[in-house]
């Protein structure tokens, strides 16, 4: 029996009532705000993250536009500091950290497991409310003094800044719990709700990534919460913890902060690795190369990521021996990252590569993250880091990794959009958006590497004339990048209203989310499917008469 037989245009398609799905089975705003359906919660995260991405993007464009001609003084130094700070805070805490785990994790993980929901559906809704509270508080900050400390909140400047450090700190504190609880929910779901036949080595790699991400969220995030709490105590009660003027230690904050914030990089990157493995395999109709190597390297990265934080402190006054040890561990992380890249490349070998929009984003990630990872070697090498630390080189380096993640996230949105909305996006426009994002990205950030190694410091309102050309190219690139993002948003929204109806399995995927109809039933599956090899595409056939893929549905 095939589930998608119900929804496919079988006998009399005209004016037939739309089949029951999770979007239409209940209506009204209350049916969303009180839902415990993982799919709806995923979409509610997407709505908040979309707003945040827009704001963070506008702030980035304000910074870049100011830097086109700083002598015009488009922004005052205060506004400039606010813009780059809020850009960082919003993009990291409100967009990239929750992006893949909360949106795609929520929507896809239970479906991939053939499950009806996550392990703790009510906790899942609670997590969303925590996140929403954090988002609202962060937005309130915009109108109540803003934030001028840089997203890193380094003390003692943040202990004494007149801007609204306290509110942002509280917001991040609350959102941290959302992150912890989501990670926990994903881990328990994957641990306990796997269907018959899905051994851990038969899990789709996205599940491995979601699990590894949960580990980092649970280990790292509490330390951020503690750090923020201490900072708030210092601001409110003048307890001297970080501010030397009150007997504290300024550098201690950096250790605490990076103990979370470096793993946070992997909270962002590891889920992207997972999505990447799904995109590459489905759109090349080929099994993943080196499944175990990719799975183990996710876990290796997750574990190593919590012991490399000291590489942010090479010039902080940290002792030489400490720095050398952190440098060694940092280079060790490069190995599992490289393994993944080679495995994805090998997956392409003798595949059937379709240059769909998700695949173009996946290939963009391969190049972009390649540069981001390789330039990480410069930053990990001690003497080179001394020179490039806190310059545009570092800015370019982490944007290459972070926007690499965003590329995969957008690729993932395109990939699962037919499943989420039941509608197909516009393929040509999608490809154009991928190309714009790719070109815009390179144009914005390649010149920043050169500026940085030539000595241009970051977070600067002004720059020496010799960097004018670099800044002009970079700003031009940022406009192209923005156009690319806008086109993605337009295409996805357009699809909801005008897209062709999506079949159950538009790409010929072999993981279980493609076994159910698009959009899925409210309870996902009528009966629990049995899992097989998630990357065995020999069992997904193209039916030339129906013009769609036929998934196996093993009862």
């Amino acid at each position: 029996m095939e589930i998608n037989a119900d929804s496919s245009a079988g006998v009399a398609p005209t004016h037939q009532a739309e089949p029951l799905n999770y979007l239409n089975h209940k209506k009204g705003i209350a049916s969303w705000l009180f839902t415990v359906d993982h799919k709806r919660i995923g979409l509610m995260y997407l709505a908040l993250i979309g707003v945040a991405l827009f704001l963070g993007g506008v702030f980035a464009l304000a910074v870049r536009t100011h830097l086109l001609r700083p002598s015009d003084k488009m922004l005052t130094p205060e506004q400039y500091a606010q813009m780059f700070t809020l850009h960082g805070v919003i993009m990291i805490f409100l967009v990239i950290i929750p992006g893949i785990p909360a949106v795609l994790g929520n929507f896809v993980v239970p479906l991939m497991l053939g499950a009806k929901d996550v392990a703790f559906p009510k906790l899942n809704l609670f997590s969303w409310y925590l996140f929403a509270t954090g988002v609202v508080m962060a937005l309130v900050t915009l109108f109540t003094g803003g934030l001028d400390t840089g997203w890193t909140l380094y003390t003692p400047y943040s202990s004494t800044s007149f801007s609204n450090v306290s509110l942002v700190g509280t917001a991040a504190f609350i959102m941290g719990f959302s992150s912890i609880l989501t990670g926990l929910n994903m881990m328990v779901t994957i641990q306990t709700m796997r269907p018959k036949g899905m051994t851990i080595f038969r899990m789709p790699l996205f599940l491995w990534a979601a699990y590894a991400t949960g580990i980092i969220q649970i280990i790292g995030t509490p330390v951020l919460a503690i750090t923020l709490l201490l900072l708030l105590m210092e601001r409110f009660f003048r307890v001297g913890i970080f501010d030397p003027a009150m007997g504290g230690d300024a550098v201690l904050f950096q250790h605490f902060f990076w103990f979370y914030s470096h793993p946070a990089v992997y909270i962002m990157v590891v889920p992207a690795f997972g999505v990447m493995s799904e995109l590459i395999t489905v759109h090349t109709r080929k099994t993943i190369f080196g499944y175990k190597a990719i799975a183990y390297s996710s876990v290796a990265i997750a574990i190593l990521s919590v012991i490399v934080w000291g590489h942010h402190l090479f010039v902080s006054g940290q002792t030489m021996r400490t720095s050398v040890i952190f440098s060694i561990i940092t280079f060790a992380v490069a190995v599992p990252s490289a393994i993944k890249v080679f495995n994805w490349m090998a997956t392409l070998y003798k595949g059937s590569i379709a240059l769909t929009t998700p695949m173009l984003f996946a290939l963009s990630f391969l190049f972009t993250f390649g540069i981001g990872g390789l330039t990480g070697l410069f930053c990990g090498a001690l003497a080179i880091d001394v020179h490039v630390h806190d310059t545009y080189f570092v800015v370019a380096h982490f944007h290459y990794t972070m926007i690499g993640v965003v590329m995969v996230m957008l690729g993932g949105f395109y990939h699962w959009w037919p499943k989420i909305t039941g509608k197909m996006y516009h393929e040509r426009l999608g490809q154009l958006s991928a190309v714009l994002v790719f070109i815009g990205m390179q144009m914005t950030f390649l010149p920043q590497f050169i500026m940085g190694s030539l000595g241009m410091p970051r977070r600067y309102y002004w720059y020496p004339d010799e960097f004018s050309m670099h800044h002009h190219i970079s700003t031009g690139g940022s406009y192209i990048l923005a156009a690319g993002f806008a086109l993605v948003a337009f295409n996805l929204i357009w699809a909801i209203f005008n897209g062709k109806k999506a079949p159950a399995n538009p790409w010929g995927g072999a993981t279980m989310e493609w076994y159910t109809q698009s959009p899925p039933l409210p309870h996902n599956f009528d009966s629990a499917p049995e899992a097989g090899d998630p990357y065995d595409y020999t069992k997904v056939h193209w039916d030339n008469e129906k013009k769609e893929f036929i998934s196996p549905y093993v009862q």
């Binding site: 890193t152 400047y157 007149f162 030397p244 550098v251 010039v315 006054g317 280079f331 070998y349 001690l382």
Partner: protein, 372 residues
């Protein structure tokens, strides 16, 4: 605004230049590590890009063709090769990155080098040398010498970055941190920057300061010695009679009494003090732009609305009182900070506190400022 500092050559102007001119003992080993890493990365990046593009072209899906490819799941020897080979190269990068770093952190003994004490504050560097000489924006260095900087901050975190020397070190309040390097043989000027975000004027701390762009000035040993021993003009050294002459614009008596000194007139003296007393860290002199405190261009004579409802005129008395008692008479523009001009309060408590004669020179300077 700031022209390319230091020597230029055809190579340096090339768009492919990746690092600044080399001007210290650390430049060679750091640049070697940089270029080595660049070569290794370029090699891997070329492999990734070329292989991927070749695969995409060769194995591109033909329309309507959905083959069921054979399942090649893994290849242990291939995977071992692409794990071990990069690992070896990582060790190489680590090695050449670590060697110069160990040298940077191995501080020379004080007897082998010139020790300069560095104090950072929002948004100004000050340097004090042996023999009591001080500078408040430029860093003076002799050629061909080992230099050790002993640095601390009087407020928040800062970081000393001299790109041409390839050195950088955070400067931390209530702690000392160190930098050492050896200058090259040629006399030149180099930019230097603060590279740890220290507030809204972070960028103005160093060579991009709009009032007084600071530079690292490497000079011959003779000139350096001359600088160390050169006496500075100070109005406080004048006898009451000479001071009367001086403040009334008659420099003859003063010039005769101090033949070795270059005597600025009261206005130029005020301008010098504006930088020397680090006023320019928070205020612009020739514009009305607010940095941390108000800009002074065109402010003289204006009526100010004070917190609490009263008004005041920006005149001699208001300026004098605001300098000596930073927390008194806040204007409504800065009500958000009232009553805490902590940066100024700190400066006024220390060596930056001007004498009465210095105050008069500063007032003379502020009187004549126009908004550009």
């Amino acid at each position: 605004m700031l022209n390319h500092l230091g020597a230029t050559s055809a190579l340096l102007d090339s768009p492919f230049r990746m690092l600044p001119e080399k001007s210290s003992n650390f430049a060679d080993p750091v640049d070697f590590a940089f270029h080595l890493t660049f070569a290794i990365c370029a090699f891997f990046f070329a492999i990734i890009v070329l292989t991927t593009i070749a695969f995409v072209i060769k194995y591109r899906r033909k329309p309507g063709d959905y083959p069921n490819p054979k399942l090649a799941t893994h290849n242990e020897s291939l995977e071992l090769a692409w794990t071990l080979f990069p690992s070896v190269l990582l060790v190489v990068i680590f090695w050449f990155g670590t060697l110069p770093f160990i040298e940077m952190r191995d501080l020379p003994d004080d007897s082998e080098c010139i020790v300069i004490k560095v104090t950072a504050q929002q948004f100004q560097w000050s340097f004090s040398y042996n023999d009591g000489a001080k500078t408040s924006s430029d860093l003076m260095l002799p050629v061909n010498r080992r230099i050790k900087l002993v640095m601390t901050s009087s407020d928040v975190l800062h970081s000393m970055f001299i790109p041409n020397f390839r050195v950088k070190q955070d400067v931390v309040p209530k702690r000392y941190t160190f930098l050492w390097f050896e200058t090259n043989a040629e006399e030149a000027e180099y930019p230097f920057y603060c590279t740890e975000y220290c507030g809204q004027l972070h960028w103005a701390m160093g060579s991009l300061n709009p009032e007084a762009p600071a530079k690292v000035k490497v000079v011959s040993l003779d000139k350096f010695k001359e600088f160390l021993t050169a006496p500075e003009f100070s109005a406080d050294d004048l006898t009451p009679e000479l001071w009367e002459e001086y403040r009334n614009g008659n420099l003859e008596g003063v010039t005769a009494a101090f033949p070795d000194l270059e005597i600025p007139d009261l206005l130029a003296y005020g301008q010098k003090l504006f930088t020397a007393k680090t006023c320019n860290g928070c205020h612009t002199a020739n514009s009305d732009v607010t940095l941390i405190g108000p800009g002074f261009g065109g402010r003289w004579g204006k009526t100010l609305n004070l917190v609490g409802g009263s008004t005041a005129t920006f005149d001699e008395e208001y300026v004098r009182r605001s300098i000596l008692e930073p927390n008194a008479d806040f204007t409504t523009e800065f009500a958000a900070q009232a009553p805490d001009a902590s940066g100024m309060t700190g400066a006024m408590a220390g060596p930056m506190r001007p004498s009465e004669r210095e105050l008069e020179a500063l007032i003379e300077y502020l009187k004549t400022r126009k908004a550009e």
